[in-house]
């Protein structure tokens, strides 16, 4: 949420409404196009995948907010998954210890990214491009490409269980988004993230320790990536080195469709919710309507573009009106 819209007290802003509206249009279309769309099974799966997407998107969005990016989110997720698998399966540690260990490694990765960005002053793109390779190297170095299968049953329940027809993950996502919303609306740290992204120089001269803020963003990003990776493990029932491989594009796409500004200073929890929803809806719908497998990506791209146009339509018309 841009700070401005935040304080107006409205929970749903104009931009959010556009995103949710676009998602609504898609839901309507697919309901009409296919009987199988509104089945219990499909809704369960849609919401579960959406929830995972939201964690992926959050790991990118908290960096984008500060005007930086993190190309290594997928690699951090993969590393977390593999370390967790190694600790719990190969080393036989108890679940909490393994989770703590995996999380510690992820946060170290985030710290390392943040350290190179702030203390050594290297552009976030270059830093995380390099660490994307470095962390991926460790994923394969540790796992040698194998999956860890000895994941405790109680952990697997998180990713597979349901409550009132909806997956546990869905509630977890809602809770997380609420916290994120609160953080950016009400906490000093959240606002400092936004301010740093909006104008780093002015933030510094306003007494904000922007290095600390960017370090915080990196730790948060790694945290969300790690949670996303662990949730994938619990959903799959195995810890696989390939987890996180396709996150790069998803993380950006969902964050940006969800109204996060690429140049920093803007994020919206409700928009992210809508962005994740749009993404799963499109992918789900393409399979439901049996799109040609070879042209499938073309449809995916076209629908993303149309959705964005739909969402931004208002804005664009407004701008056009002003120019004419």
């Amino acid at each position: 949420m841009a700070l401005s819209t935040l304080k107006s007290g409205k929970v749903i802003t104009g931009a959010d409404a556009g995103i949710l509206g676009a998602a609504g249009v898609l839901i309507l279309l697919f309901t009409l196009a296919s009987d199988s769309f509104l089945t219990q099974y499909n809704i369960f799966n849609l919401t579960r995948t959406q929830s995972l997407y939201i964690f992926v998107a959050l790991s990118q969005a908290v960096m984008l907010v500060t005007g930086n990016m993190n190309l290594s989110v997928g690699a951090i997720a993969g590393l977390t998954a593999v370390v967790f698998g190694y600790l719990v399966d190969t080393m036989g540690l108890p679940l909490p210890a393994a989770l703590a260990g995996a999380m510690a490694v992820a946060l170290f990765c985030g710290w390392f990214n943040g350290f190179v960005m702030t203390t050594l002053g290297i552009n976030s793109f270059i830093v995380t491009l390099s660490t994307l390779f470095i962390f991926t190297g460790f994923v394969y170095g540790i796992s040698e490409g194998y999956s860890y299968r000895g994941i405790p049953k109680e952990f697997v329940t998180i990713g597979r269980g349901k409550f009132m027809g909806l997956p546990y993950l869905f509630y977890l996502m809602l809770g997380t988004l609420a916290v994120v919303w609160y953080m950016f609306r009400y906490t000093v740290f959240g606002r400092q993230l936004l301010a740093t992204g909006s104008n780093q120089e002015a933030a510094e001269l306003s007494g904000i320790n922007t290095h600390r803020v960017i370090m915080g963003a990196n730790l948060l990003s790694a945290f969300f990536a790690a949670v996303g990776g662990l949730l994938w493990v619990s959903r799959l029932g195995t810890a696989q080195p390939a987890i996180g491989q396709n996150w790069l594009i998803i993380s950006f796409a969902v964050a940006i469709i969800g109204g996060t500004a690429l140049q920093g200073g803007r994020i919206t929890a409700i928009g992210l919710f809508g962005g994740g929803l749009i993404m799963v809806l499109i992918k789900n719908g393409l399979i439901l309507v049996q799109a040609n497998v070879y042209f499938e990506q073309a449809f995916l791209g076209a629908i993303i573009l149309l959705t964005i146009l739909l969402d931004r339509g208002r804005e664009i018309w407004a701008r056009k009106g002003r120019k004419k």
Binding site: L3, N199, S206, G207
Partner: protein, 503 residues
């Protein structure tokens, strides 16, 4: 050429910036366009040169109606503009910045003729009194130098109509004098000029005609001969105001709030030593690039202090960042460059005003910034500074320049620091707002006992506020002018003394 505006109106979402404005500008005249912040001056300028398309009304040159779709078409019609906001290509050379809008004329076989471009640019630089190598990257120049480059750029278009939107806002007396010579020259050549400024002394000195806007409406046009300062102000704001006369501050000579002992930041400021007394306003005066802002930024920890010591209330202080400076030392700094260093243009007024005090507005248990208290703070400040906006939710980027400046100051008033360094507080601010700002600065020192360092290139402002003035030259403090208000020294004496120290 005669530039005639008839019935121009222009609206932005929520504001009618121009409302049925008709004015005629004659050739060979310097025509002042005045009005409070947000009155619509810049909007009118932009409507004339093609940047904005008016909703209604028309612009004509020598009776020929223009229909400009873009600035480029305006330039083709012989109209040029010096923008209020400084806009440069920071990685380009000075020469290219000047010629960017007419690179085509340097196209020859074998590519752009850089040598010719540099020669031509050097000529225009000389005309505005800037003796710099045209091949230097513009990024390293001070705000004043950039503004002069912008003026050179407008000149180089050799236009018949020149629109100057606050060309003197960041330059000092020397450059202003140079610029005025230039304007006279152009006027004698029969060029039509519109001059926007909040410095009424300048207007009275250079202009032939005055037109005044109020809330987007044209209030009237008069020859300058009929006008004086009070009359202009009355036209602008619809009432008389008390011109400021603050008298003497009763600062206690024995309590030193801040002492600098040989403070040096390599390449930025050399060996600066001074005392700031509690409750006084200490002026920093100097030519552009003299290092005043650099000393300020060194004191607040934004630039590294390589040598020397700083004491606050007798205790040595160190600050490695601005945050530390606010928290530990209670020293704040209002930047001279509001757009790049002061404001968050895509955030609202409230956020901008309260950014320095979020931690104070935070509930200890819930860690939540209290929105109600925040709103109260912001509303209070809006009233105190008389900010003209639709409300505290308006985006700062959509405010007029003067109102932006008020927000930039408000942020630091909220921070409630013991020592406040205020850099160029009235750049682009109208007379009404200026007196409001001056009153606030005065009260901070007089009533709240704050210690203020005032950096200003505006001599009248300096003399009416400061207790003592330190004069800077080439990154050093060259002397001090004391007892300004106390002894009731006349303006001329003080400025002569300052001139001696700067020579």
């Amino acid at each position: 050429m005669t530039l005639a505006l008839s019935n121009i109106s222009k609206s932005f979402p929520g504001v009618k910036a121009l409302d049925d404005v008709s004015i005629t500008f004659e050739p060979g005249h310097v025509h002042a366009l005045l009005g409070e912040n947000g009155a619509g001056k810049s909007t009118l300028i932009k409507a004339i040169c093609g940047i904005h398309k008016p909703d209604q009304g028309s612009v004509s040159l020598d009776g020929k109606k223009l229909s400009l779709g873009s600035l480029k078409e305006g330039m083709a019609a012989g109209i040029t503009i010096v923008n209020q906001e400084i806009q440069v290509f920071s990685e380009s050379s000075i020469a290219e910045n000047i010629m960017m809008d007419k690179l085509e004329i340097y196209r020859k076989r074998g590519g752009l003729d850089w040598a010719q471009m540099n020669r031509d640019a050097a000529q225009y630089l000389a005309r505005v009194g800037l003796h710099l190598d045209p091949e230097l990257p513009i990024g390293g120049l001070s705000a004043a130098q950039k503004q002069l480059v912008q003026i050179a750029k407008a000149l180089s278009r050799e236009a018949q109509v020149i629109l100057l939107d606050e060309p003197t806002s960041s330059i000092t007396a020397n450059e202003v004098a140079k610029l005025f010579e230039l304007i006279h020259e152009l006027r004698d050549k029969g060029i039509t000029m519109i001059f926007v400024s909040h410095k009424l002394e300048e207007v009275l000195e250079i202009c032939d005609m005055v037109s005044v806007l109020r809330d987007g409406r044209h209030v009237g046009t008069r020859p300058i001969a009929e006008m004086d300062k009070e009359k202009i102000i009355e036209m602008m704001i619809g009432r008389r105001i008390q011109l400021e006369n603050f008298g003497a501050l009763t600062a206690d000579d024995t309590v030193i709030a801040l002492r600098a002992n040989g403070v040096t930041s390599d390449g930025l400021i050399e060996d600066a030593s001074f005392d700031l007394r509690k409750g006084e306003i200490l002026g920093f005066y100097g030519l552009v690039g003299a290092g005043r802002s650099e000393l300020a930024k060194t004191i607040i920890g934004h630039y590294p202090k390589t040598r020397g010591k700083l004491f606050k209330d007798g205790l040595e202080i160190h600050a490695k960042s601005v945050g530390e400076s606010i928290r530990k030392n209670s020293i704040g700094y209002v930047s001279e460059n509001r757009k790049e260093e002061g404001l968050f243009l895509d955030f609202d007024i409230e956020t901008n005003m309260t950014i320095t005090i979020w931690k104070r507005l935070r509930n200890a248990i819930s860690r939540k910034i209290d929105p109600r208290r925040q709103r109260e703070m912001a509303d209070g400040m809006m009233d105190a500074l008389d900010v003209r906006a639709t409300g505290v939710d308006q985006l700062v980027g959509n405010l007029s320049g003067g109102n932006q400046q008020k927000i930039s100051i408000a942020k630091w008033l909220a921070a409630d620091c013991d020592i406040l360094i205020i850099d160029e507080p009235s750049v682009g601010v109208d007379v009404g707002a200026k007196s409001t700002i001056h009153k606030i600065i005065w009260d901070l020192a007089n009533e709240q006992g704050k210690s203020i360092i005032l950096i200003s290139s505006d001599m009248p402002e300096m003399i009416s506020l400061a207790t003592r003035i330190l004069v800077f030259k080439e990154k050093r403090i060259t002397g001090e002018v004391d007892g300004i208000a106390t002894s009731g020294l006349p303006y001329e004496d003080v400025s002569r003394e300052i001139g001696r120290l700067m020579a």
